[in-house]
Amino acid sequence: MKKILFLVAVIATCTATAQSRYFTKTGKVTFDATTPTSPEKIRASNDNAVSVIDAGTGAMEFMISMTAFNFEKALMGEHFHENYVESEKYPKCNFKGTVTNIIEVDLNKDGNYPVNVKGMMTLHGVTKEVTATGTLTTKGGAITAGKSDFKIQLSDFNVTIPGVVTDKVSKDARIKVDVTYEPVKK
């Protein structure tokens, strides 16, 4: 009898874990380092970010292929990939952290919840602590979307801007994240 109860408890725990995790492989991340004196928008987007969130613990993860950032203009893309973030040398950017106020996100009540995220981000071979605010959207008992808009100092990640364009490229890049989550299926 005890064995059966134990088995039921294990299965229930596994099911709960699976149901509490949500993921996407098509998250949209945009990077903007435009300044008022930039001759045009210095902007790139990547529609293939992988993200996972655990609604129970608040654990959150992002994985981004740097080489998959697309620019409207080829020259800007070449400078970004070759001179700034060195995409072939450091092809991955990842973030591992926690939604620190996940307890305030009520899965039983549809809505947009303001959240605080804190964790370690690795970019250009440098790992730094990053904090950001954002929103999580819940619908039908599940987390369905997440959004955030925050800034990172490029110098924190050893990304140097050449002197000749120092006032044309922002020292802090604006990062926008827009993801639609679906439940992780076991």
Binding site: R21, F23, K25, T26, D47, N48, V50, S51, V52, D54, A59, E61, F62, M63, S65, T67, A68, N70, F71, E72, K73, A74, L75, G77, H81, S87, E88, P91, K92, K96, V184
Partner: protein
């Protein structure tokens, strides 16, 4: 013609030429994958296995490079006009192929089970620790051939 006139004319022509080159270079659009040469050809399952076996070495070898691929379509999705095909890889991994916008109409017709040949830019093997499996990402893909 006087010597100084020739010098002024040469400088003028050189300046105009440099200006035109600069303008064209500044406004150059990214080249389509169809205009690029693939450095290697793979079956989808063998490429997925290469990345699964040693992600670090495969990343150094192939990331940012154009690759030709043949594989069986597992899933076709369209999101905000962007078509993605997931090709069957190994037991644990697949290959996600994101298509160029102008190729979306053709690639969007791919049916699960069909064999497709394509070219695309190899990115990284995207595996989050919190997920049981990962996928290799190819972007800016173009279909080169459909097979029955």
């Amino acid at each position: 013609m006087k010597k100084w006139k020739i010098i002024v004319l040469a400088i003028l022509i050189g300046g105009i030429g440099a200006g035109i080159y600069g303008y064209l270079e500044w406004n150059r659009k990214p080249a389509s994958t169809s205009e690029k040469e693939a450095i290697a050809s793979f079956k989808a399952d063998s490429l997925a296995s290469i990345f699964e076996d040693n992600d670090s070495i495969a990343t150094i070898q192939f990331t940012g490079k154009i690759i030709s691929l043949e594989g069986v379509v597992e899933q076709c999705t369209k999101d905000h006009g962007v078509v993605r095909l997931r090709l069957k890889g190994s037991d644990m991994s697949g290959i996600i192929c994101e298509f160029e916008a102008k190729d979306s109409a053709q690639s969007g017709q791919a049916q699960p089970g069909a064999t497709v040949c394509l070219k695309g830019q190899c990115n990284t093997y995207q595996k989050a620790d919190m997920l049981p499996s990962g996928d290799l990402l190819l972007s800016n893909c173009v279909v080169t051939e459909y097979k029955k």
